[in-house]
Amino acid sequence: MTQINRLSGGQIDRATTLNFRFDNRSYTAHPGDTLASALLANGVRLMGRSFKYHRPRGVLTAGSEEPNAIVELRTGNRQEPNTRATTTEMFDGLEAHSQNRWPSLKFDALAINDQFSKFLSAGFYYKTFMWPAAFWEKLYEPMIRRAAGLGSLSMQEDPDEYDKGFRHCDLLIIGAGPSGLMAALTAGRAGADVILADEDFTLGGRLNSETFSLGDETAANWAGQMVAELSALPNVRLMPRTTVIGAFDHGIYGAVERTGDHLATLPAGKPRQILWRIYSKRALLCAGATERPIAFENNDRPGVMLASALRTYANRFASSAAQRAAIFTNNDDGHRTAADLHAKGVKIVAVVDIRPDAPINYEYEVLAGAQIVDTKGRLGLTFAEVKLSDGSTRTLDCGALGVSGGWNPNVHLTCHQRGRPAWNSDLAAFVPGADLPPGLSVAGAASGLMSTHAALQSGTEEAAQVLELKGSLPDLPDAEDAPVSQTPFWYVQGCARAWLDQQNDVTVKDVKLSHQEGFRSVEHLKRYTTLGMATDQGKTSNMGGLALMAELAGKSIPDTGTTIFRPPYTPVPIGTFAGRMKGQAFHPTRLTPSHYWAKERGAVFVEVGNWLRAQWFPLPGETHWRESVDREVRQTRASVGVCDCTTLGKIDVQGTDAADFLNRIYCNGFAKLAVGKTRYGLMLREDGITMDDGTAGRLAEDHFVVTTTTANAVKVYQHMEFVRQCLFPDMDVQLISTTEAWAQYAVAGPNSRKLLRKIVDPEFDISNEGFPFMACGNITVCGGLRARLFRISFSGELAFEIAVPSRYGDALMRRLMSEGEEFDVVPYGTEALGVMRIEKGHAAGNELNGTTTALNLGMGRMVSKKKDSIGSTLSEREGLNEDDALKMVGIKPVNTGDQITAGGHLMGASGPVDAAHDQGYVTSAAFSPSLDSHIGLGFLKSGDTRLGEKMRLVSPLTDLTVEVEIVSAHFVDPEGERLRA
């Protein structure tokens, strides 16, 4: 197909021809085109269907405010729904499909909705589909859901990368039209760090769409020269294709740069888009204005568009929706469009101006005091019907109709911090209010200054003012300075199916119904009719709906109010906000010092917070994880096992008040702990609930090493700093997290001492007498490497934890393995660790679940009443000390072989099974190779007095009921003989 509606001139590169496809038909275009301009040039006006009635839709605008011309761009896993054809930069090979239609754009089955529009009035669905109740999910809703929605996702993973970045500047200028360019020049010449961002791919804003001149240059050329000068300034950064999406707190602006959307394929490693956080000292909004339509009967046909858009397509993109055009206006700007189109050779069939005193033109007809009252054309405009000033009607034969109802300043960003715009009655439009985001100023049309001269002048003046520049400012070129006065005219009297929101199909009659039913607040209007909730967020529709509601309610527009403008200014791909934080990079991965060694051993890893830990170490021939875990447990208990416990938090506590400090942190006493000794410590939150547990070893009078659980390492450190800095600021104590500084391994089992003896340098006595249970100390290993040794045991065996600087962690593990060969040493993972601690009855994360107290854990007596410690006072509240309080118990199946389910609930041996009879729950469960039985830990009401009792463990969720016996939580070596051996 040829470009039948291609005009002369324009900012397109005719030397290059680009091929593209729309709905599987091939067309040609030129660099500089958008998809919309190219389709128009090719004679395609029909580009989409509306949301509700599936009415045919063409372009309304030439910018990001577009409600109608939205398509599925690209194909396969790059399919991008709801993409505005008006901002899609043409590239060779572009492929797009229309959306929300079936089977085709021209013959859309759901266009039947339009025939039934009477029944589909605003909010009709709230009043029906209620009977019978069960039909909603089964029938009505699936039907509605299938019909609703716009474009479709590919359902495949987005293959493109997105980046994030941070930029800082003295002045962020948002919008590179006349005011933005002048502001950038002013600030740039003065040496300020300037960022000039514009959503368009060509800077210049409306200057690129106009035929008037600035000084001796055409507007577009002048803009080009400005851009050239600004590019040469090292302190000015130009950011085309960049939409500033939101004004956030403290001068931080979000901006999205489309680095790859205009390319057929992304260069390898380059992002499709970049999310910038721009930290600005000051910001200047130069976002211009958006033309507003007038509502009249059937004003939604393809070919009916904003007059300024018609002008932009003609002047900038050298394309037109048709060869015969009419203009419908209430202001002088509509006439400018007529003149420009006429100059481009488009036949102006008439300018319909509502004003009786409309300016006269001798080259085409001006119908003063006239109004468009209806249009015709099934898939695109063919005729427009005019009601003349004398009451007679006339039919205009035209394929394009430009509508101009005046201009609305783009105030959106001024309201992102919930400031309200102010009403300007001269413009009959909202302008920025007094309550702007701190640091933001406004210039040009965005501030209500509609002439080019005023825009240029305010750009330079605002820049000078916010930067407090003294001295002379750049000269302004001569520019048009036509006085602008807008007489409000929102809709043609008597119209009903006159569209306000073209995408969501909200018409004048819907607003009237909304008013009739009491939905009169603008927010109710919006929510009831869906006005302004489409992908364009009502940029061209809200004002009309608001004005109509004001009129119906007999209130002024400012009294009726506006809905709140919220970020983002235009929709942003979710992938852009996520950046590279997806897939494996979603969160950082922390590796233990023995990770690579464990990987060599074929370990299976598990995520523990951000850590990856070895879960078990399968041997050849082992087919089930239980085989590996059982072996690791047995071998450890029989001889010796090694486990990487580096992930436990380690906090170094030093200072003359260190012991006193720990006395406040832990509910049990620490002041008297001897040097060279370790003690178990229970830490409460201030509300008396257990926060964490661990050990603290005293390496010197003024030096402790505190360990925390893996999960709570960060939280406990933060808490300890809070206590130190905020509660006891004069204590002489210093804290530092050394979790990553030390590789730490548990060496457990009856042969652990023998193994360590081969590692620990001979001058250190690690015999039971010289280094008894709970001893700790600085030692050296492997011939002088500094290390720390703690005789503590999580497994219940004779055990040690040995720590060396992290960089030696890998080597130490390998040494332990090679030296341990003679003892048949086994590495064990988190599963075996878990099994052994359950066998031993040690509480861990499942028990320390943020709701349990020391009393629940069977450690009530540890809470010292003789000292002040965090949480001790509130731990005494009655609700935490009830007679039948939960106590930690062990759980064993009565019938050997039955399984214990963590998460199961405990019920009496007989009687009903329901919440009222719930007596406790199982927190942890495992198969114990040592007992050859499943076992569990749990909390049971008055559990400490019920040992031996038979109960039912029920898990209706997994359809399980097991007869269990309540036993001591200490399944293995209850007397603790092994660990003291």
Binding site: T128, G149, D158, T535, K582, A902, D914
Partner: protein
């Protein structure tokens, strides 16, 4: 006026002339038996149940702006009763049952859609915790289902099963969970309450309480003094501000929670998904928008707007969970003010001031609680004793140590 399909057709054929305002717009009377402050979901539901169940007619709901403008109109529309603790589960299950009969109860289609909710499981400890929770749900008469990874994949094949940092290991499903058209809840309750004679008074801001000898006599408002036998406050988000006027300090902080909606898309998500390894939950509205949210911004705020770090955090969670949404565009973000209580659970209770009752502290569980909250608050206001499903929601539970802490986070509201 009764709404029905027949009525819609009849009106369509007669030019829609017969539709009346969904609620009247009355001026306040000098005195009511009960005045409810807050024309949000909870306040309007309270009025409905006070009228319909407890027979009160001389009641008013007063609202400083437009009804439904608070959190009922700015949430992610999820309903569910998948709670763990005895203090909560019966209440939320009661609520879910009320949701199930809501449309017929109020004769308004709020589009209660039980398309199911799945909380994803990513670790063994999480499975243990969800097992305990699922069992608690069933023991309380709710439904719950434990899914393994394959079952989740079958229902949601497009979740990240290939390259996830935290692999999906299963899920806890509640098939009766789902979504409700949030605005319609406020409008439906308003319409019903209005039909019973309750006055719904918009643009009427409370400026103070009239309290004499420890008894609340009514409220001072921008429309003058309104006397009341009893005053119930249901203004979650602004509870601190309002109760401050009565001289009360609350176990509550106000925080901002952001929520997001994408452009309209053809159906992709049948039910509600909650990511268990990041802060992200998502559903798809009947209009086609992906409605999603995440964590609080984390600082005290009354601003109804948030900042970029949380926006990014939420979208990162979304992309980590379902990388096929990368090219869907986020259309709009907004913020609601949450009454974050000290244990993450609400309060429905009398106050120390005679005649003054409180309903608040809903954290971000308020929407799903709307019917039960209204019902239980109405019960409390009418009978002066707590509804059996809401007995634990007392002020003094913090003093006595009987917190209802689902997440086990303690007295730090922004962690709940």
């Amino acid at each position: 006026m009764r709404y029905s399909g027949f009525k819609v057709i009849k009106e369509a054929l007669t030019g829609h002339k017969g539709w009346k305002p969904v609620w009247r717009d009355p001026e306040p009377k000098p005195h009511y038996d009960i005045v409810i402050i807050g024309g949000g979901g909870h306040g309007l539901a309270t009025a409905h149940y006070l009228a319909k169940i407890y027979g009160h007619r001389n009641i008013a709901v007063i609202e400083k702006g437009w009804i439904g403008g608070g959190n009922v109109g700015r949430n992610t529309t999820i309903v569910r009763s998948n709670y763990l603790l005895d203090g909560n589960e019966p209440f939320y299950e009661f609520s879910l049952k009320l949701w199930e009969g809501l449309e017929q109860d109020v004769n308004y289609n709020a589009m209660v859609s039980q398309r199911g909710i799945i909380n994803l499981i990513h670790s063994d400890a999480q499975r243990d915790a969800f097992t305990r929770r699922g069992n608690a749900m069933i023991l309380n008469g709710a439904d719950a289902e434990l899914l393994d990874a394959e079952q989740v994949r079958k229902e949601y094949p497009f979740l990240n099963f290939n390259d996830a940092r935290f692999p999906i290991k299963g899920g806890l499903a509640q098939r009766r969970g789902g979504t409700v058209r949030h605005d319609a809840v406020a409008w439906g309750y308003a319409r019903s309450a209005d039909g019973f004679g309750a006055d719904i008074i918009q643009n009427c801001e409370v400026t103070g309480f009239r309290i004499e000898d420890g008894k609340c006599l009514g409220v001072e408002t921008s429309k003058g003094f309104i006397g009341a036998g009893k005053v119930g406050c249901a203004v979650a988000g602004n509870s601190g501000r309002l109760m401050g006027m009565a001289g009360m300090r609350l176990p509550i902080e106000s925080h901002v929670l952001q929520a997001f909606v994408s452009e309209g898309l053809k159906p992709v998500l049948p039910g509600v998904i909650t990511f268990g390894a990041g802060h992200f939950y998502v559903s798809q509205s009947d209009k086609g928008g992906l409605v999603f949210g995440g964590d609080l911004d984390g600082y005290n705020s009354y601003a109804q707007r948030g900042n970029l770090p949380v926006v990014e955090d939420v979208c990162e969670g979304g992309m980590a969970l379902m990388p096929m949404i990368g090219r869907a565009r986020l259309l709009r973000m907004w913020g609601g003010i949450m009454d974050m209580s000290m244990d993450g659970s609400p309060i429905i209770d009398r106050t120390d001031i005679d005649g003054l009752y409180f309903n608040g502290g809903w954290c971000y569980g308020g929407f799903k609680a709307t019917p039960a909250s209204g019902h239980c608050f109405a019960h409390l206001l009418a009978r002066d004793e707590p509804h059996p499903t809401a007995t634990a929601y007392r002020f003094d539970r913090f003093r006595t140590g009987r917190m209802i802490d689902e997440k086990g986070m303690g007295n730090q509201p922004n962690l709940h």
